[in-house]
């Protein structure tokens, strides 16, 4: 099952991944980071398609997508 990992230190809660996720399963955390941001979080991992759109749109390259054991921190099209 695909999973995503968000680098909390780089995420600044811009919500672009939230808006672009085709499954609508990313939302912002309830707590804030030390830098004062709500960070992105996948709230329903079971529905993740591993499409990597969140990683593509992330302006801070803070999202790593793991599909079948292969980690894509960036994208390669």
């Amino acid at each position: 099952m695909p999973t995503i990992a968000v680098d909390k230190n780089h995420c600044k809660g811009c919500e672009l991944c939230v808006k672009s996720c085709p499954q609508g399963i990313i939302s912002l955390s309830k707590e804030i980071t030390l830098r004062g941001y709500f960070y992105a979080l996948m709230h329903d991992p079971s529905r993740c398609l591993g499409c990597r759109i969140c990683a593509i749109v992330c302006p801070d390259a803070a999202i790593e997508v793991n599909v079948n054991g292969t980690a894509y921190s960036l994208f390669d099209y």
Partner: protein
């Protein structure tokens, strides 16, 4: 009161600069000398933003204050940065909604105030800074409460609805600050 310095610190966007400016405006109304200095620079959004206000009866020398008589801290990084800097005998006003830590210093007075909570309960999370401002003035009496209220009416009076909330939380902050300090910080 010869000279009083207070540092306001928190995230960008918490109204730190405005709180400091309102205090400075009130100082001017009372015929005092004031200086307001921001931290400026490539501070990352969400990093610490801070400003220092100096209120004095006479000519103000150095505008740079390393050890202020009081610090009003709105978030954890500010608490860590400015907590140790408060001059002995001074005041550390802590926004306990976002800061769970407390200082172990015994030479200063610490006031814990759930400012975010008070602001949200009053109807707007945006007025956290006013809660803190009220509490600071309540605890220290640097400027008079009535003058501060007037400043708020002049400076924030454009949005009627918000002004009411502001005045409400200012009063609540003031009363709590006054009660917590038990008058011992009066300058």
């Amino acid at each position: 009161m010869a000279q009083y310095e207070v540092t306001w610190a928190g995230f960008g966007g918490q109204g730190i600069m405005v709180a400091g400016q309102l205090l400075a405006y009130t100082g001017i109304e009372e015929g005092k000398q004031v200086v307001w200095i921001p931290s400026y620079g490539p501070e990352m959004r969400g990093g610490t933003a801070y400003c220092t206000v100096v209120v004095s009866d006479s000519r103000i020398g150095s505008p740079i204050i390393n050890n202020p008589r009081a610090a009003c801290v709105f978030n954890r990084p500010s608490f860590d940065k400015f907590g140790p800097k408060v001059r002995p005998g001074g005041l550390l006003l802590v926004n306990s909604s976002l800061i769970t830590a407390t200082t172990d210093r015994t030479d200063i007075t610490q006031i814990l105030l759930p400012a975010n909570r008070i602001a949200i309960d009053a109807g707007s999370p945006k007025v956290t800074n006013i809660v803190m401002l009220g509490a600071f003035v309540g605890a220290t009496g640097i400027v008079s409460y009535n003058h501060l209220k007037e400043t708020l009416k002049v400076k924030l009076g454009k949005k009627k609805g918000l002004l009411e909330v502001n005045l409400k939380v200012l009063e609540e902050g003031y009363n709590r600050g006054k009660a917590e300090s038990k008058g011992k910080l009066r300058a």
